[in-house]
């Protein structure tokens, strides 16, 4: 290309070529090398869907990142003013075609992302392991047969209750593998958030609310539980370990707990789905 007798390099072509080469290297690296290490892993169906989402998003965002970084890097080197003289550049004010293309491309990407995110949330991995409130609009198939586990947060500990086993209570979370589980998360005092990282579950524990999250574990193993919403002094210590066990082990353990607690649990009234704490208590 020539402007006023001077040969002008094809900057745009160069930028696109550099970008295409870098993207062609980076995208497979993201998918093959980084992808398997992206959180939260594949311990449950829901965690797997989240890992897929993180992998696809990274693979999609890396070329966008590269495009702008390559452009900025190229511009910084190619369009720098040598010496101290101040010269003006060409007075370009815009280009309808480029502006419209940019608008259409970005709009297509974000609408596609929203559609794909909604499809994952509603259809392919209903709920995606997140808390959905008492009505749980995006429930996986077979949710009416899910094993209910009530998760009760309080400052600063988690308690678990198993309504289908005589409502025994424990500080030791166990759930059966390959079985749909419904966590009913609530709180006795302030807002907490039940976060089982590897299991791909996060649901706020809000006083007065029964917040439901579904999960179907695939692998036997243990996972860390933390509180993900600031809840006061010992928020950082509100952690524990949960276990995914085989169905037979789970039933044996649950039956044992149920029998052990039977002598007093039979005198308790029906338990509540949500709690309404008194406001007078003031802590640090």
């Amino acid at each position: 290309m020539e402007i006023a007798g001077h040969r002008v390099p094809r900057h745009g072509v160069r930028i696109l070529v550099i970008w295409a080469v870098l993207s062609a290297i980076a995208i497979p690296l993201v998918v093959v090398v980084l992808g398997p290490h992206l959180p939260p892993g594949r311990m449950s169906a829901q965690a797997g869907a989240q890992t897929d989402a993180n992998t696809v998003l990274t693979a999609l965002l890396v070329p966008i990142l590269l495009l702008i970084l390559v452009f900025l890097g190229y511009a910084v080197f190619a369009f720098r003013q040598e010496g101290s003289a101040i010269q003006d550049g060409p007075p370009m004010r815009g280009h309808n075609g480029i502006e419209l293309t940019w608008l259409l491309v970005t709009a297509t990407i974000v609408v596609a992302l929203a559609v794909w995110g909604s499809y994952t949330l509603v259809k392919s991995s209903p709920g995606s392991g997140g808390g959905q409130g008492p009505s749980a609009p995006f429930a996986p198939s077979g949710s009416s047969q899910a094993v209910p586990i009530q998760v009760i947060g309080q400052q600063w500990a988690w308690t678990y209750r198993y309504p289908s086993y005589g409502a025994f209570e424990t500080r030791d979370l166990r759930l059966p593998v390959n079985t749909l589980v419904a966590f009913h998360v609530t709180s006795l005092d302030v807002t907490h958030s039940f976060w089982a990282f590897r299991l791909g579950v996060k649901a706020d524990a809000v006083p007065g609310v029964d917040n439901i999250a579904f999960v179907k574990a695939r692998d036997v193993g243990s996972f860390t539980i933390r509180c993900a919403e600031l809840c006061g002094l010992w928020h950082g210590h509100m952690s524990g370990t949960g276990h995914v066990v085989s169905t037979a082990d789970f039933h044996a353990w649950a039956a044992e707990q149920q029998t052990a607690q039977e002598p007093f649990s039979k005198y308790l009234g029906p338990f509540s789905r949500a709690y309404f704490p008194l406001p007078l208590h003031r802590a640090g």
């Binding site: 992206l38 959180p39 989240q50 989402a53 993180n54 965002l61 990142l65 702008i68 452009f71 900025l72 511009a75 369009f79 003013q81 010269q87 003006d88 550049g89 060409p90 007075p91 370009m92 004010r93 280009h95 480029i98 940019w102 609408v111 992302l113 929203a114 995110g117 909604s118 509603v122 995606s128 997140g130 808390g131 959905q132 409130g133 609009p137 005092d189 302030v190 958030s193 990282f197 791909g200 579950v201 996060k202 809000v206 006083p207 007065g208 609310v209 860390t224 933390r226 600031l230 006061g232 002094l233 928020h235 950082g236 210590h237 949500a274 704490p277 406001p279 007078l280 003031r282 802590a283």
Partner: protein, 630 residues
């Protein structure tokens, strides 16, 4: 130049004893104790307070009377009281005079801008110091050297200092100082309200810091109820400071919006408006519409704490969700209150140092207004796992991702302006380019948080923390320093030392990225925010981040040293137009005269006519007088 107002002559003792910041502090403290005493008399026997060991009514009454004392001490009541007594009073205060102007009620927009620069800057440094202490705690995975309670106080103070106190980090100094110059207006629409918006800010900062005396507050900057209702009296300081800042932001927003709508000089059409003015105007819309919601949320929290009303308490028929909704209905526009002026700054600076017109001006305007509009429709993405409104999640996912479109416009403007430009790497330009680098990473990481399945992993983790530090610190603070190095010579009349400025830039840019990029990884492996203890396996990563953060903090000290060196020791007078900019503020003498312009200028064109043959100057500063009625 004719001086229509009498220069005030005052002796030293009149200066010290008059209405200024000293009398404001004295009357403010006096007011606090009077109010606390009255509150104690009112509420001491109240049932609700008998059940607790503290009297929130007294604390709030103290802050309220303290505020009245502070404003009376500054002289905000002189005008209405004089008029009530039938005496003539001037609406303009202390516009002439020396350094003393900066410590009292002054209605000169340039003085208010510089007051904001130093006033907000102090709180920025206190917030930064808190961050250094937090990183010290995180050197080890156990509670050392601070206790869990001390660490939470630091978290709360750092967050509120940085987000509450620095809401007007760019708009305060630069819009107050520059907007009237850029639109040829001599002043904002309401100069006394302009002074009030500033003087509420240091008061809010002092109230906020008084939280330390009340054992701090354990909620972080978000102040979620019911923890807010449960917390001890440090929380009252948080609530009252946020009410003061909310008032200040609302008034500032209305003031700026009125000014831009009604006070543009002749010839300054909407398509000739400097892009920074568009950034400020879209921010002003957000301030005027979002901050009142914050005030309402805080007043309900105040009532819950002082009068047991139960707006946010499930046991009394209220809902914790009510607070979360109101807070984030303010809170999400708030992050754009921080970001939008930054967009305006970098797009204002890029054409000057690329020597090209701003590329696709109308797209930049559309981008800013689009962000402002959409920012009111996305707030529930902070609440994806809260259990609230689950069926509306696809809607909030869509609106949140749509906001990337107008934000993308700003990137296209930047790229188009750089394209085949003649780029000069001055310090403001370096900060502006770094803004794009940081904001790109910050913006793209936000896509993970807008996608519900991905957000279930990352919500409440260090990923979120890294994301918003990339947008707010990487965006707002870098834009702030771009603006500082660009305009401070015009504002203060002295040149800043360039070598120190470049050291500041490179240390800040490199160590900002080394501090916050690893924290994406910390979030991805499951480290929650706001904890003083973490998994021992993450110690190396956290130590690396802490070490980088110390250097980042040190780079701020270099800026401070540069400021002190350049203003106190070197004192090299700044030329009128050191950057060869075509914008109107650089056509004025340095320092800018008290009345800005001898005549109201007439604008001829946009301020970006670089490389245009025979372009007229942006404005005629000495327009020929037009006979009345012509």
């Amino acid at each position: 130049m004719p001086e229509p107002f009498q220069r005030e002559h005052r002796t030293l003792w009149q200066g010290v004893l008059g209405f200024n910041v000293l009398s404001a502090i004295v009357l403010g403290i006096l007011g606090f104790f009077v109010g606390a005493w009255i509150g104690d008399r009112i509420a001491a026997g109240h049932d609700y307070l008998i059940g607790t060991d503290q009297n929130d009514v007294a604390v709030f009454m103290g802050y309220l009377f303290g505020t009245v004392g502070w404003l009376a001490g500054l002289g905000f009541l002189n005008y209405p009281l004089s008029r009530m007594a039938g005496r003539p009073a001037s609406l303009r205060h202390h516009e002439f005079g020396g350094v003393g102007r900066y410590f009292r009620l002054c209605t000169d927009h340039k003085v208010v801008g510089i007051q904001y620069f130093f006033g907000v800057g102090i709180f920025f440094f206190i917030g930064g110091l808190n961050a250094m202490l937090m990183r010290t705690e995180l050197l080890r995975p156990v509670e050392h050297p601070f206790s869990a309670g001390q660490y939470l106080s630091l978290v709360g103070l750092h967050g509120t200092m940085m987000i509450m106190m620095t809401s007007a980090f760019i708009v305060g100094p630069f819009a107050n100082f520059l907007l009237p110059l850029m639109i040829g207006a001599r002043r904002l629409a309401f100069p006394r309200i302009e002074a009030l918006t500033f003087w509420l800010t240091p008061l809010a900062g002092l109230v906020l810091m008084s939280a330390i005396a009340g054992n701090g507050f354990p909620t972080g900057w978000t102040g979620y109820a019911p923890l807010m209702v449960q917390a001890r009296s440090g929380m009252d300081a948080y609530i009252f400071a946020f009410i003061l800042i909310g008032t200040s932001l609302t008034l500032l927003g209305l003031n700026l919006l009125t000014t831009v709508l009604t006070m543009r000089a002749p010839g300054l059409t909407w398509s000739r408006l400097p892009i920074f003015v568009w950034g400020v105007a879209s921010t002003a819309i957000l301030m005027a519409l979002a901050a009142p919601v914050l005030i309402a949320a805080m007043l309900m929290g105040l009532m819950d704490r002082a009068a047991n009303t139960g707006f946010y308490l499930a046991s009394l028929g209220g809902s914790p969700y009510l607070y979360e909704n109101l807070f984030w209905f303010f809170g999400h526009p708030e992050v754009y209150i921080l970001a939008l002026p930054g967009f305006g700054i970098v797009l204002e600076i890029l054409p000057v140092f690329a020597r090209k017109p701003l590329w696709a001006y109308r797209l930049a305007v559309a981008g800013m207004l689009g962000v402002a509009l959409l920012s009111f429709m996305v707030w529930q993405h902070h609440l994806f796992v809260s259990g609230m409104n689950a069926s509306l999640r696809p809607f909030y996912m869509l609106t949140t991702e749509l906001i990337s479109i107008p934000t993308g416009f700003i990137f296209l403007n930047g790229m188009g302006t750089l394209w085949r430009g003649r780029i000069r790497f001055t310090v403001p330009m370096l900060f502006a380019l770094a803004f794009f680098f940081n904001f790109l990473i910050g913006g793209l990481s936000g896509i993970f948080l807008s996608d519900v399945p991905s957000d279930v992993t990352t919500h409440g983790s260090y990923f979120v923390m890294a994301h918003f530090h990339y947008t707010i610190m990487g965006g707002l603070v870098f834009a702030f320093f771009a603006a500082t190095y660009y305009w401070l010579p015009k504002m203060l009349g002295f040149t800043l030392h360039e070598g120190l400025a470049k050291i500041h830039f490179w240390l800040m840019f490199v160590f900002f990225n080394l501090t916050f990029f690893p924290l994406f990884a910390a979030g991805f492996v499951g480290m929650p925010r706001r904890v003083s203890t973490y998994a021992p396996g993450l110690q190396n990563l956290n130590d690396f981040v802490s070490a980088s953060a110390y250097v980042l903090g040190f780079s701020m000290l270099i800026f401070l040293a540069n400021l002190i060196y350049s203003l106190v020791f070197a004192r090299v007078p700044a030329p009128d137009n050191p950057w060869e900019s075509k914008s109107i503020e650089w056509q004025l003498p340095t320092p800018v005269p008290v009345l800005d312009f001898d005549r109201i200028p007439v604008f001829n064109t946009t301020p970006y006519e670089y490389g245009v043959e025979d372009a007229p100057p942006v404005a005629s500063l000495e327009p020929s007088p037009v006979p009345a009625g012509s």
